[in-house]
């Protein structure tokens, strides 16, 4: 032991010298890679950093992936994606954590709070997609029970939908508690013999519908379009009392179907004021439900969002150029 210690004492200073020399040589390199990389980045107007909120459904991911791809590769922006819940994302406008929400479903209250009152966000125009939310059943049920798509008949079929989670009532399967939903209120206000149960996520909803169609088991659930899954399993919508202007203004008393949402983009005031190309891109971005579904299908099929976005952008150069001009 003593000997080893002595050995260490003798050799270590030499090693330290060598290390210091290495340090010195390495130090000659000068500037940090970050600065070098920044200098070598895209030419033209500096874009800076864009924080993109990532809400948890594939349609959204498709929008955000294409936006991020273009911002990064065509504009040279630094894109930071943040996985956040829908409403939490809006809070990010106030804190500077979020610059872009790529697919917004309504949210009149948040619009008022953050765009009108606090003035920290700006409406960046429609995405070109139209959104529909509603209650759906798998196609086999619509065939077997043709009148089930009329909301008035739901109570008649309630017993079909009972599960161990629904406490003897029929089950309405909802997605993520964070999604836009009036379902709890609908059940109560339409006097439906149902209970809302949350699957927790879009993925879980899709899996449940897929299994229900495969095994011909009953399922009633919350769903929406644009949604790539509808081309795999064409779910049938159940018609609730039609939406009329203002019928859903009070979330506690709502007793009508969901409206048609003109999906839009929202960007932070900060990004808008900066005059960054990223703001321009966000405002210019529009596409169709088919476009979104094709990207979403690719992502669902196992492509990374970035690769799927690249594929779409490569095939739609002219559309992208239009967003930027």
């Amino acid at each position: 032991m003593k000997k080893a210690e002595r050995l260490i004492k003798r050799t270590l200073p030499a090693m330290a010298g060598a290390a210091a020399a290495a340090l010195f040589l390495a130090g000659c390199g000068g500037a940090s890679v970050n600065q070098t990389a920044a200098a070598a980045g895209a030419s033209g107007t500096p874009c800076g950093t864009v924080n993109v909120a990532m809400n948890a459904w594939v349609g959204y991911t498709a929008d955000a992936a294409v936006y991020s791809y273009v911002a990064k590769n065509k504009l040279g922006c630094t894109v930071v994606q943040k996985d956040l819940n829908e409403q939490v994302s809006w809070q990010g406008f106030a804190s500077g954590e979020v610059d872009v929400i790529m697919e917004n479903w309504g949210h009149a209250d948040l619009t008022k709070q953050y765009i009108t009152d606090q003035k920290v966000a700006v409406d960046a125009g429609p995405t070109g997609n139209e959104g529909h939310i509603g209650w759906y059943v798998p196609p086999w049920m619509a065939e077997k029970y043709p009148d089930i798509t009329d909301g008035k008949n739901l109570n008649k079929y309630a017993s079909l939908f009972t599960t161990s989670e629904s406490g003897g009532k029929g089950q309405v399967l909802d997605g993520d508690p964070a999604f836009v939903t009036n379902d709890e209120a609908l059940v109560k206000n339409l006097n439906l013999d149902y209970k809302v149960v949350f699957a927790g996520s879009e993925a879980a909803l899709i899996q449940s519908f897929r299994t229900a169609q495969q095994n011909k088991t009953p399922l009633l659930g919350y769903f929406y379009e644009p949604q790539w899954f509808l081309s795999e399993v064409p779910l049938k919508k159940v018609n609730l009392p039609a939406w009329t202007e203002g019928c859903d203004s009070n979330p506690e008393t709502v007793a009508c179907d969901y409206p048609t949402y003109k999906l839009n983009k929202v960007i932070s005031k900060k990004l808008d004021d900066s005059g960054s190309a990223a703001a321009k891109l966000a405002k210019g971005f529009t596409w169709t439900n088919e476009d979104q579904n094709s990207v979403a299908t690719d992502i669902q099929g196992g492509m990374t969002p970035e690769a799927a976005a690249k594929k779409w952008v490569d095939a739609h150069q002219s559309a992208v150029d239009k967003w930027l001009s």
């Binding site: 210690e5 829908e86 009152d117």
Partner: protein
């Protein structure tokens, strides 16, 4: 042969002895039985009346006025002095510290988003720190784990998480150690602080995310603040405990030499409490890691984000990959801080193999090498960003996904029938027993039980807690939560007794189980949700399983310690008098470990309850759902807040009741009539 024959008659007197002293049932038993009778009668006769059920979409006036808080904050953020001079500066300060660490280790916001110190430098620096505060073994572990993060393709995420943990722990210590010292020295401070800490520790992590995000906005700053709140109690408690448990005679000896208060603190209290304080740092760090992961919900960057994304896309592979990172990070943080606490043990210096000089030389040389690595990682791209060709993350994810698909498709029959069976046979009936009985009957039942366990005081406290819950408008949801919690706790106790007894009786089983339990305890609750979600779907059953997994290790450990803590002579004498192992367990070991069992139930319950909200992410209803939904839907923000409070009061009530059960003597003192 003759011995065998002789043995038989002795069995009979033994049987007589068992049945002979037929004690009259104690007062407590009578009270508990009558409570059960009231309950069942109430359930049967008055079923479904006065259940105080509140449909999920409905709010009470209280919830609406709490909602107003949300609007008030939004309206006053810009000009209220509280925000101008307290919250906003605090947020900026915390943000600056967090930013310093994240840009150093994880990523800057510009250019290629490379951190100030690239991966090579980070690995080198952290390894050096582990060597300096710990030993060579933990240093090697640190290096290996951080390189592995890169191989997993999660280096940036892991360093983000690490940087936030570092920020939180530093701030926690800055706040916690002085407070702990004050609480250790001044009894009065301790008296004020203890209930606050109790409250903070019963408060489920999730509950204060929403209000915090409201006040401090989402982002790393709020995440750090939430984490500090969560991690400070163990630091404060252990610091105070370390100072308080210094033997009187040592303190007196130091006083007799004429020390001033400051000298006493510096030469006696801090050095002697050092080890306990470092233990507090260890516990605080683990708590911080688990909270930083959850804080991903309010935009804390890092591994938590990856887990949440996996949770939302049911991507078991990604979840397992990220979960593995979190567990590894937990292990590194645990081992390094534990090694540091060993180093802090009094007199640890003498057992070191290297002299102080030699050690310093080694550290100095290593530092030079590390600085060279840091410099390299700032100049060379290969040393800055982890090489992409070493990243096997996607392969790991795919392999796990393949395995999980195989499991899901092959086990689904089993998992589904298990879930349906337990839900239908146990959970649903029990839940309806709680939700369908009129509230006044249940309040009465709880009050009687509380009185039986802890007298008038406890009965009053219990009634008060229930009254608050009713006032919060969440009685029915609370009963749903209570049902799940009690079922999970019951299972936890069964596991605790079975494994605890096995561990307490056999060193080999103990050695086998300990590392598993340790791993279970260091794993943040978030991590194992996804695999179970894959197996069982989003149901209450899944949430209960998650709660069980989270709480079982602590219950097993406490039970095992209780069993192995029984004096060996007692067990020896029982064996010597011819008891079978079963008799030893049931007649000697379990009764003698009764206090430990009650403590295990207490801790198990608190742990399960802490998991209730997180369980709502995978299908638990009740209060947990209210909290989660209130967090993500601004229209029911107030209800979520109320639900958070309801969980706290439910927790306080159950905690006090189990504590009273633990403290009460095994046999009540014979009442005067029998004496």
């Amino acid at each position: 042969m003759s011995a065998l024959v002789q043995e038989r008659p002795t069995a009979q007197p033994a049987a007589v002895i068992v049945s002979e002293p037929r004690r009259r049932p104690s007062r407590r038993t009578i009270l508990l039985l009558s409570a059960a009778a009231v309950w069942i009668l109430g359930f049967l006769v008055l079923n479904g009346t006065a259940t105080l059920a509140l449909p999920a979409s409905e709010l009470t006036d209280l919830h609406r006025s709490l909602n107003q808080f949300n609007a008030w904050v939004g309206a006053n953020r810009a000009d209220n002095p509280l925000f101008l001079y307290v919250f906003t500066p605090l947020r900026s300060a915390v943000d600056a510290v967090a930013n310093l660490f994240t840009t150093t280790f994880a990523a800057t916001a510009t250019g290629l988003r490379l951190p100030e110190i690239g991966w090579l430098g980070t690995v080198g620096l952290l390894t050096w720190i582990a060597l300096a505060v710990g030993n060579l073994r933990v240093a090697l572990l640190t290096a290996a784990v951080f390189v592995f993060f890169g191989i997993q393709g999660l280096f940036v995420e892991a360093t983000y998480t690490f940087a936030l943990v570092l920020t939180s722990v530093l701030l926690t210590l800055l706040l916690g150690i002085p407070l702990g010292i004050l609480a250790g020295i001044y009894t009065r401070v301790a008296k004020v602080i203890t209930p606050v800490l109790d409250f903070m520790q019963t408060l489920p992590t999730f509950v204060y995310l929403a209000p915090l995000a409201l006040v401090f906005l989402i982002g790393p700053a709020s995440a750090v603040i939430a984490t500090v709140i969560y991690a400070a109690p163990p630091v404060i408690r252990l610091t105070a405990h370390g100072i308080r448990r210094i033997p009187d005679n040592t303190r007196e000896a130091s006083d007799s030499l004429g020390t001033t208060g400051l000298q006493r603190l510096l030469t006696l209290q801090l050095p002697m409490a050092r080890r306990t304080i470092v233990m507090g740092i260890n516990q605080g760090t683990m708590a911080a890691l688990s909270m930083v992961t959850i804080a991903a919900l309010i935009a804390a960057p890092g591994l938590g984000q990856t887990v949440i994304r996996a949770l939302q896309s049911l991507d078991v592979g990604t979840a397992v990959n990220a979960g593995l990172s979190i567990v590894l990070l937990a292990i590194v943080l645990d081992r390094v801080t534990t090694a540091a606490s060993r180093r802090a043990e009094p007199g640890a210096a003498r057992s070191r193999r290297l002299g102080r000089r030699t050690r310093n030389i080694i550290l100095g040389v290593a530092l030079a090498v590390v600085l060279a690595m840091v410099q390299l990682s700032r100049t060379m791209l290969w040393a800055a960003a982890f090489p992409a060709d070493l990243n096997v993350g996607p392969q790991i994810v795919q392999a796990v996904n393949a395995a999980s698909h195989w499991l899901q498709s092959n086990l689904s029959l089993f998992t589904v029938s298990l879930r349906e069976g337990v839900t239908g046979a146990i959970l649903n009936p029990f839940q309806s027993l709680l939700t369908d009985t009129p509230f006044y009957i249940l309040v009465m039942v709880f009050a009687i039980v509380a009185y039986a366990l802890g007298g008038w005081k406890l009965a009053a406290l219990t009634t008060a807690c229930l009254a608050v819950i009713i006032f919060l408008g969440l009685w029915s949801d609370s009963m749903v939560t209570l049902a799940g919690t009690l079922v999970a706790t019951a299972v936890v106790m069964v596991l605790g007794i079975v494994f605890g007894v096995a561990m307490g009786r056999s060193d080999r089983v103990d050695q086998l189980m300990r590392p598993l339990l340790d791993a279970g305890q260091t794993m943040p609750s978030f991590v194992y949700l996804v695999p179970f979600l894959g197996l069982f779907g989003a149901t209450r059953f899944t949430a209960i399983i998650a709660g069980i997994i989270y709480a079982a290790p602590v219950a097993i450990k406490i039970t095992a310690d209780g069993i192995s803590g029984i004096s060996p002579t007692v067990v020896e004498s029982a064996v010597a008098s011819g008891s079978t192992p079963w008799q030893v367990i049931t007649k000697v070991q379990l009764p003698m470990a009764r206090q430990s069992l009650a403590l295990a139930a207490n801790q198990g319950l608190i742990y399960v309850l802490a998991m209730v909200v997180v369980g709502a992410l995978v299908g638990a209803g009740g209060l947990g759902y209210d909290v989660v939904a209130g967090f993500v839907q601004s229209s029911i923000f107030g209800k979520g807040l109320a639900a958070g409070l309801a969980i706290v009061f439910l927790g306080i009530m159950m905690d006090r009741m189990t504590q009273a059960a633990a403290a009460a003597p095994a046999r009540s003192i014979p009442s005067k009539t029998t004496a």
